[in-house]
Amino acid sequence: MDLLDNIALGFGVALTLQNIAYAFVGCVLGTLIGVLPGIGPVATIAMLLPVTYALPPVSALIMLAGIYYGAQYGGSTTSILVNLPGESASVVTCIDGYQMARNGRAGAALAAAALASFLAGTVGTLLIAAFGPLLSELAFTFGQADYFALMVLGLVCAVVLASGSLLRAVGMILLGLLFGLVGRDVNTGIARYDLGRTELIDGIGFVVVALGMFGLGEIIANLSRREEKREVFARRVSGLWLTREEFRAATPAALRGSALGSFLGILPGGGPTISAFSAYTLEKRLAGQRGTFGAGDIRGVAGPEAANNAAAQTTFIPMLTLGIPPNATMALMVGALTLHNIQPGPQVMTQNPQLFWGLIASMWIGNLMLVVLNLPLIGLWVRLLQVPYRLMVPAILMFCMIGVWSLNGSSFDLLLMAFFAVLGFVMARLGCEGAPLLLGLILGPMMEESLRRALLLSRGDWSTFITRPISATLLAVALALLVAVLLPTLRRKREEAFREE
């Protein structure tokens, strides 16, 4: 069979001692740097790109892939341990992962994240190997109207994400969307809400808001709790490994997350973030009343982690089969390839099968290595939580400040982070969660752009959103989801009203 031959060829390339070593070094470096809060995959790859110049192309790409997975996984670690998402996809992991850590289950959360990522990585790699070229066609069936519908669905997911009041969650999403509008409007080039500052022309960076609201906001919240309630992390850590029940709950969640992530990863712009959010929504809906989402539910870690890793995997498809980078990380990879005299595109598979299949095989090896590397480290990470909180505060603060500065080298970003720290703390005290705001911030610009492009293409005809089958379906799903969320709330309201009379 062709596929088996190809995979054999790939492993033949990837399993040389030299290339295994590069994959390993890549994973280690990626994990070490990625685990530094505020430094996500893009920054990590950009930093380590020059290291790979001297290597032969296949080895360079293998090492870069290792760095990419390592950085991605490193981000999950800090999300779980200290509520610091290194990139947008790990915001969701914060929600339940960090609560698990506070309940003394950090080990289980980290293990679930590692295993779910590995499972998803395997699924994603197999998909690329078997259906890569076919799947790339999917990107072409998605038009601008369909992207808009996808964003709408994403925003409805953000509502479901909230565990408290729906009204407040909707407000936070709108606030996030508004913050997302800051900066240059792609359609007209007009800078909106830039207050005359050059630093704001590109908009407010995700990392600035995430580290401010999540990282620093959490510090303020913990410090302002009264003495008796000061215990931030459970003293007693109950076991580093998953219990049987957790394992049983997490496995199907990881499988569903892998499927969802594999699909959404192929779409340009969708990628890991939307996958993670929708996987969380899916798990929360499926669990219904029986879930403890928001308070440390293992499914809220396994599902999204699987989804974002599967998506990270299938994001390679448009890049490898078409040479079109769907996001910043892949753009970096394309840059790295061209520096090695390889023009990414459909011809790579036929002209350079060694490289193509070698990379695919090393993707899987990279995923395997991450598990092998990270499972033993869990004990070490968990021990870090035993450090007195008063000493963790300056450490987290330093990582946040260095992380934000490293983005643009701008003091202004630091001031913005301070603003969002205060805002995050105040809103949390008022019972508003940060995740919906972050999702609004990410989706806002994409939503507005795709809406306006869709209307430009249809010459102002709004029916384009209903007449296109994909868009119509997505909007219907969004509507159904919204009704499903609103109905129980409304019913409860009516019951309350009756009871009071």
Partner: protein, 150 residues
């Protein structure tokens, strides 16, 4: 009149405040029409929606909220002021005195944010962390920071 939920009222006011700010700073952009949206269309639409949600929050807080969940409680100003202040201190002094003193001062300051304060320990921790940050991020990773002031 007694508030049903102080939180809802406060949240509503925050939302209304931001809606007003975004409306005010975005009022000069042309809105265009629904068929041909201009730069101001989305900002106006979202500001209006946020104002609606804010108003709904206020109303709910006045008449229908959950009094138990709705209590805000006392807010300790010290941690807010000192954590935000530490970031401001670093941001404003970085260009003046360089990375090492700015980071050190900022980390010492944040040591006083909690209720449990041990000055000596804070100073030592700040020094160790500053050194660690310099070694890892500047020496090893080659991030560009101002090292000296002007």
């Amino acid at each position: 009149m007694r508030l049903r939920s102080a939180r809802d009222v406060a949240v509503g006011l925050v939302f209304l405040g931001f809606a007003a700010l975004f409306w005010w700073f975005g009022r000069d952009h042309p809105t265009g029409t629904a068929a041909r949206m201009d730069a101001g269309y989305f900002p106006m639409l979202l500001s209006a929606l946020l104002a609606l949600v804010g108003a709904a929050c206020v109303l709910r807080g006045l008449f229908a909220g959950d009094p138990e969940e709705g209590r805000i409680g006392a807010i300790a100003l010290r941690p807010v002021a000192l954590v935000a202040g530490a970031v401001l201190l670093f941001a404003l002094t970085l260009d003046l005195v360089g990375f090492l003193p700015a980071m050190f001062a900022s980390l010492v300051l944040v040591g006083f944010a909690g209720t449990e304060r041990r000055p000596l320990e804070s100073v030592i921790a700040a020094a160790v962390l500053t050194g660690f940050g310099w070694l890892v991020f500047i020496r090893l990773l080659g991030l560009q920071f101002p090292m000296t002031g002007f």
